[in-house]
């Protein structure tokens, strides 16, 4: 059984009187533990596709199943609950909360789903920050961290709640090559250790190099789907 299943997913945006198709019928399955990259030129629909998969948006047509649950026609509240328990996000611009420390940014995500004791949560958060190489930087605020460190906090925030699926929209776009490589390494490590499914959208050839599955999106349709050993 696939973790994620998309059937004939279409998304059309209405801009005034003009209908702009962003996705023209996407079919794809993603198995648990896959490390998948979606690539394609700007405007090809990568971000729209990630938003559909991430339950941030609903398709105009077609069906999306996550963990065998049809999510394409859920209510706003149900979509929020699906995101809360099943999906982690990593954004290009990190989207950390500036008034919270690295520790608190990660703690924020787990507090939403886990009602464990403060000590248990602390242990989990510190372990996750350690995993992404931020040991000793827990009390720094985002403005005291480098771009790479911020993205690591974002990754820790996405992974701390142990979601089934992590979606990363251009996660290395704002990073230099060294930091980008480190971030990808961390995600690969998590993919292996936790068997978390990762789906990226990217332009970055380095990210593509590490992917075990490459999906090429062109004009809102999958033009190639390559799996590597």
């Amino acid at each position: 059984m696939s973790l994620l299943e998309l059937k004939e997913v279409k998304k059309i945006y209405q801009q005034g009187k003009i209908k702009v198709p962003a996705l023209r019928g996407v079919d794809m399955n993603v198995e648990a533990g896959e490390f998948t990259t979606i690539f394609g030129p700007s405007g090809s629909g990568k971000t729209t596709l990630l938003n559909m998969i991430g339950c941030l948006d609903t398709p105009t047509e077609g069906v999306i199943r996550l963990n065998d649950k049809k999510v394409s026609d859920l209510s706003r509240k149900a979509l929020a609950m699906t995101r809360r328990y099943n999906i982690g996000f990593v954004f290009q611009s990190y989207n950390l909360i500036p008034v919270l420390t690295a520790y608190e940014n990660v703690e924020f995500a787990i507090r939403l789903i886990d009602h464990a004791s403060v000590l248990q949560i602390k242990e989990k958060v510190l372990k996750m920050l350690d995993e992404v190489g931020l040991k000793g930087l827990e009390n720094r605020r985002p403005n005291e961290l480098s771009g790479g460190e911020k993205q690591r906090v974002a990754i820790a925030r996405a992974l701390v709640k142990e979601p089934k699926l992590v979606l990363a929209d251009e996660p290395t776009a704002n990073l230099d090559s060294k930091n980008a490589a480190d971030v990808i390494d961390i995600m690969r490590k998590m993919n292996k250790e936790l068997n978390t499914t990762f789906i990226f959208s990217t332009h970055d050839p380095m990210v593509m190099k590490y992917a075990r599955r490459l999906i090429n999106l062109k004009d809102g349709m999958i033009s190639a789907d390559e799996r590597r050993g």
Binding site: T47, N51, G54, L56, D57, R76, K77, A80, M81, T82, R83, R84, Y85, I87, F89, F91, S93, N95, I97, P98, V99, L100, E104, E107, F108, A109, R111, L112, I113, R157
Partner: protein, 412 residues
Amino acid sequence: MFSFKLGLKNLTRQKRRNVITIFVIAFAFFSYLMMDSLMNGMEEMSFDNIKNYDTGNIQVSNPEYWEDRDELLLENLIDLNQDMEEGIKSTDGVLGVSPELRFKANLNNGIDEILVRGVGILVEQYNEVFATQNYIIEGSMFAPGESKAVIGVSLAELMDLKVSDYITLLIRTKEDTFNTIEIEIAGLVRAPNPMINNGIVFLPLEVAQEALNIGNEISLLSIKTVSGDEGIITRALADSFKDKELALSAYSWKESASSVIALSAAKKGGIGAILSIVLLIGMLGIINNVILSALERTEEIGMMKALGMREWEIVFVFMVEATGIGILGGLAGCLLGYAGVSAMVKYGFSLAYIGGDGSQYGIPILDKIYGAWNVPAFSFLFILGVAIAVFSSIFPSYWAAHKDPVKAIYHR
């Protein structure tokens, strides 16, 4: 609880804007508390000045005289007799009774003439009811049996009179014939009630009665009572007059002070209007703050939605922040108000700033209006302010939380 913590931490963002909003709320609260203190002080002082220098706590007169009492007519007077006076004095709560004969007179200093109110009094009894003697600034109150007068200092200045000068009061007797009273000034009074200082001549009752040719009649009796018991004593006196079939009625000082009481009622309306403005300022400050915060944090709101936060949870974060601003503004306003009201109670507000004594505005206060503490106003305003902060943050917070997550995340 984390949302609560986040809301509180958000208070440290945009410090300048938050401080301005807090200051605006604090200033609005401060203004209200100062105004409230001043108005209450003015009311308390006005009422005290009316009771202590003009009417006493209760006045007894013929009901028909009472109807036209401002005309100072020599009709429907009371025949002063010992039984009646003793009857009133023996009523529980009565501390003093002062018979008064009030009449119109023209005061002549040999050059000019001015219309005044003559008040014939029995000085010992008068001093039991009124505190005027404590404010004689030159000379003294005339002694019992002494045929002298006391006038207000403002009237003396106006007519260029001083102690030991003689004045002539031109009067009309009950039979409408003219008469005069030649009398020496024994003292000048500067009472806290400016109405006393501006146009009254106190003189012995028997001198006035003789000149007006009215025998032993008086206009009314002013009565001093235990403060706060006026209502009960007024009713007791009314019952007693009815039992004895006397054509008399008792009136609380409030009936003489109707214009000041009307002013006080208008004051309450004014304070209500000020309160509405204060709350509106607070509301606008909070709404403005939440909207600007939401606009600045659009991506953050998108991220919160991506994390799976529900709308009410995001609303809660913004509401905690707005409520925090309301609480800080309220606290600062109450502290400023405490300082301001303390100063107002101690030093007062000089009426010289508004061009003289309060009599020009119908307020029986001479130099300064002292503030009065109204502690419930502090707690009421604080609680109301916080409630308004919570209430006014709901809509803009909901507007922020209702943003489409995709548009919020990628709004740039």
